[in-house]
Symmetry: C2
């Protein structure tokens, strides 16, 4: 690792750079990057999220609370210093650069503009000072050193029909073009991969867990151009060939991924595009600069892509698919929990990784299963106290017949996406575990059963899931809920349920998680997570009302609930939910599992 | 009224104006204006809040939900059209002007820049189009027509000592100058009247209910200049003379109110002020323009005044005063409620106005009482369904021995400010009244007893007061809580508790109201309001905790509570609160009242 940093410093000296910023982001601001773009990991050996800054006399990694332990371990001996974010008195990269170069008349900061958004580069320039900062934009900055750098992924593409997604790609493009005309634009450049997948009704597996295709999409008032890694594909890759054929027949013009810059420049030069809309939160700095440098003032307008909101509001066909996915997923989960309880009761040796493998096995038996929607968190005891624990294949903890086991997992299905966390007792639990378990459930229920006025945003509801914990001075450090895609990213916007001041109202058709938790370092971690659908709840003198309907179908364990901590309405909700899980799943379960689930879901 | 609009239109024609915008605001963006600035009322006869736009062929009044009924009544026959705001599909003044003048190459909009903030004028220019909009800034625009226009008020001024306010004006100025130096400013112009009153430890009664002095304050690194209506005062006005003497002795340079513009221009010209800070949300357009036109780019910096936040966090002396004020005010309230119950039981004829007069009488007996902190809302039955009901002196409703009576009132005392709403049954109530009463109380208690993490903003707590109502599809259309000054404005920022996305965290020492309600047109209105102090609640592994401590001392009536709707912890809170009210007040009450209060506060 020290050699790699040394090589970067040589490059810096020869090019006259004062600092290099490296990220692990792909050119599309995706949550997960393909190996090609994991630059931070290549340089530092650290595999979590975070950004790296290298100067002549300092190498630092910036990452947040979730990764402090992992980063501390993986950076040991590298000479790279850990800079903590999301803590009080944090010093973020822009401010750090500003004070580090306080005395300098000129500062040259090199960035790989493919891995940074236009917004974040701007912040650096503003903080260090516009007058004295030169940004050297060097796409694929590491490529000269990283000789065995992986290629851009190119996986098979599949397309989804309207029987699955409801809206044809034609309908979606017509809708988008209307938006363009209404707003006075003549083109939109889409770089967010899930937005492209949604618009084209196409899926791939270029990125782990997210069924997307690395590409750009340019939609004008009369053309649709998809810049995608077509190139030669394996002989047996029929799917892809068919998909391209289908897309082409629908008027999608397939172009090569690497041609996006040139194509844009040409179209702008020819005055074919006069007013182009881009989303500056997902467009990378490299393309944004290219556009800004080649177009007159105001011809490129940056804003929030309309696709994100449209995609978040699921249509009837998607909702039906999501219900089906949750039914199948619920069966897999119940099979898993039954198996787990049986194994533990039998005293069979078992570790966290074997559990996640078993759950994968159950999900794999479902027709249409395409893989996990994120890396399964299978965590026993103290492991669960890390909200973003990664279960190691080697050396994961053994399970014992006491305390709590937490499993946060989800599946991608051709007809939907799931995300569920259950925390279950494996035997005797402490009073603190029982109380924590009950209070987190109390928060989960409070939000699950609330009725709220149309127009309410998630951050205006967040406190309902927290107050039961707050009132005994407990809390959790992550958001309460995130949007979930339809056979797409398990984390999507624009809505969320968290303390941020996100003004996006929750709308009927949106799918969101509800996942309060509690984490006690060295002891235990608890999280209760369902996905819920936002639905209409009638209208009266006070206006229109919405509520959440659970999509997730898997019982909550009632054996360690401290009943005194729940009020009657909460107990009623819990009994009804568990009852519905049993009624819905039992016809599909073998009799031993069905009997077991009946006892598990008896009213308390 | 039609004559007045006609006269304005003549003026418009002779001056070449296409539109005139009139407000009822004073030059300091105060909540209440002195009669001199009630331009909308003079032109239209309408006495509520709202703005007037007059063009050649249209006269319109823009106001919100609170005033629709009143505006509808008062505008009848004037030819002025009501434009509703805070409704779906609202068209605000800037957008309305934009579409009204859609075909025009040039639009001249005349404004009285004294009655509009720099921000609001900017919005109009942006909406109508910067290229074609000319703003004619005409201070005192109506004066040529409004021949008997009232003078700028000039009431006696008093000063408060450190034994009352904790911080001397010297300490406050030193603190403000440190802020100026830290931020690189050499002067701050303060136009918000409550900020001036706080900084100078001075009070007046130039504006109804708000104990402030119409003035501007300019603080530089070595001078304090107060631009105030000094002029000749009544012979017996010793207080004022003394106050000016004391202020002058403390280094406050007294200047005439009308000289502010000239003085600023001179100081800027002389380079005495190079970087001036102003608060663009309270500074009027007239002064802002004057400053901008006379200073080089960037020499006038607009932002949020630091005084508002500093003022909102009460010190120990102010807190002690607020407690004392609430003790005295609580006694007045209990005397009033006892009197009311006795009168109603005796079948004495009684109307809403007589009730508010009686409450005034009780408060007047308190030493240090300076008047109401806002206009008392004394409302029986359907009157209370209007959250901002104004109790008329003539023709207010009679009270009967059934249903609910609501009283929202507050006092200004030399040692604090109060604001309290109690809703009490005067006899038999309907089941709906009882349920509404209980659910509003449930919301009040949920917020009153919550413990929350340091850093939490009011909008992140608001839902706690609403969820008990939401869950049975009830709601209220106003905020849940507002900041309250110390012997100052009953509404102050920067914190609040409402659905807005105000990021200001609640801090220990802040005083805020908690006042959920419910309003059913033609039937009844309910509101339960206490003032609460934000206090520390300890620290643990999860961080630092805050909570609210009620300042208000007046029992909540328990006779119509539907006990099943409250859980044990809510009943416990209520019993403890009522018990504390009795224990605290009873030593100060006559025996008949004390006995009565004992029965009123018995645990349920």
């Amino acid at each position: 690792m020290r050699d790699r940093i040394g090589a970067i410093r040589s490059m810096m000296r020869s090019r006259g750079w004062d600092a290099v910023i490296l990220t692990g982001n792909d050119p599309h601001a995706s949550e997960y990057s393909a190996p090609r773009w994991r630059q931070v990991a290549w340089v530092s050996g650290y595999t979590g999220e975070g950004d790296l800054v290298i100067t002549e006399d300092h190498a630092g990694l910036w990452t947040d609370t979730r990764y402090f332990i992992q980063a501390g371990r993986q950076l040991e001996g590298t000479g790279i210093e850990l800079h903590k974010t999301r803590v009080q008195d944090q010093v973020l990269i822009p401010e750090w650069l500003s004070s580090h170069f306080a005395g300098y008349d000129e500062v040259v900061v090199a960035v790989d503009g493919l891995g940074m958004s236009a917004l974040s580069v701007n912040e650096i320039r503003d903080a260090v000072g516009r007058d004295r900062t030169a940004i050297a934009n060097v796409p694929d900055l590491l490529s000269p050193l990283w000789t065995d750098r992986p290629e851009i992924p190119r996986t098979p593409i599949i397309t989804l029909g309207t029987e699955t997604v409801g809206w044809s790609r034609h309908q979606k493009i017509v809708w988008l073009r209307k938006w363009l005309s209404d707003k006075g634009f003549d083109a939109i450049l889409i770089s967010a991969l899930d937005e492209i997948a949604w618009l084209l009704n196409a899926r791939g597996s270029d990125v782990a867990y997210n069924p997307v295709v690395i590409s750009y999409l340019l939609v004008t008032l009369d053309t649709v151009q998809w810049f995608v890694r077509k190139g030669p594909l394996a002989e047996d890759d029929h799917e892809t060939g068919d998909s391209f054929y289908e897309l082409t027949a629908d008027g999608v013009n397939i172009q090569d991924y690497s041609d996006i810059g040139m194509a844009l420049a040409e179209m702008v030069d020819d005055d074919y595009i006069k007013r182009l809309f881009v989303d500056s939160s997902t467009l990378n700095h490299n393309l944004y600069r290219l556009l800004k440098e080649n177009t007159p003032q105001d011809n490129v307008v940056a804003g929030k892509s309309p696709v994100a909101l449209r995609k978040a509001v699921k249509n009837e066909v998607e909702i039906a698919g999501m219900r089906e996915a949750h039914l199948e997923d619920g069966i897999a989960m119940e099979r898993f929990l039954y198996w787990l309880e049986t194994m533990v009761a039998a005293g069979e040796p078992l570790n966290e990784y074997e559990c996640s493998a078993k759950l994968h096995e159950f999900r794999s038996e479902i027709e249409g299963f395409r893989g996990e929607s994120f890396e399964t968190i299978s965590a026993y005891g103290p492991s669960a106290a890390l909200p973003h624990y990664v279960t190691p294949e080697d050396g994961s903890s053994e399970l014992y017949s006491n305390g709590l086991y937490l499993c946060d997992s989800g599946g991608q299905y051709l007809f939907g996406t799931t995300d569920i966390t259950r925390t279950v007792p494996l035997g005797p639990c402490s009073q603190l575990e029982k109380e924590d378990y009950t209070l987190v459930l109390k928060g989960h229920i409070a939000l699950s059963k609330v009725v709220f006025p149309k127009g309410t945003a998630g951050c205006q509801l967040d406190a309902l899931a927290r107050a039961p914990l707050w009132n005994s001075k407990r809390n959790f450090g992550h958001g309460t809920g995130h949007g979930v895609g339809f056979y797409l990213n398990v984390h999507e916007g624009p809505q969320d349920i968290r303390q941020s001041f996100n003004k996006q109202a929750l709308l009927p058709g949106m799918v969101t998680s509800i996942e309060p938790g509690i984490y006690r370092e060295g002891r235990h971690g608890i999280r209760h997570e369902n996905l819920v659908l936002c639905v209409e709840a009638g209208e009266n003198d006070f206006g229109r009302w919405l509520r959440f309907e659970p999509l997730t179908l898997c019982h909550f364990d009632t054996s360690i609930i401290v009943k005194d901590l729940l009020d009657d309405s909460e107990i009623k909700w819990l009994n009804e939910y568990n009852g519905r899980v049993f009624r819905t799943l039992s016809p599909r379960l073998p009799s031993d599992l069905s009997s077991w689930l009946r006892t598990k879901t008896l009213p308390i």
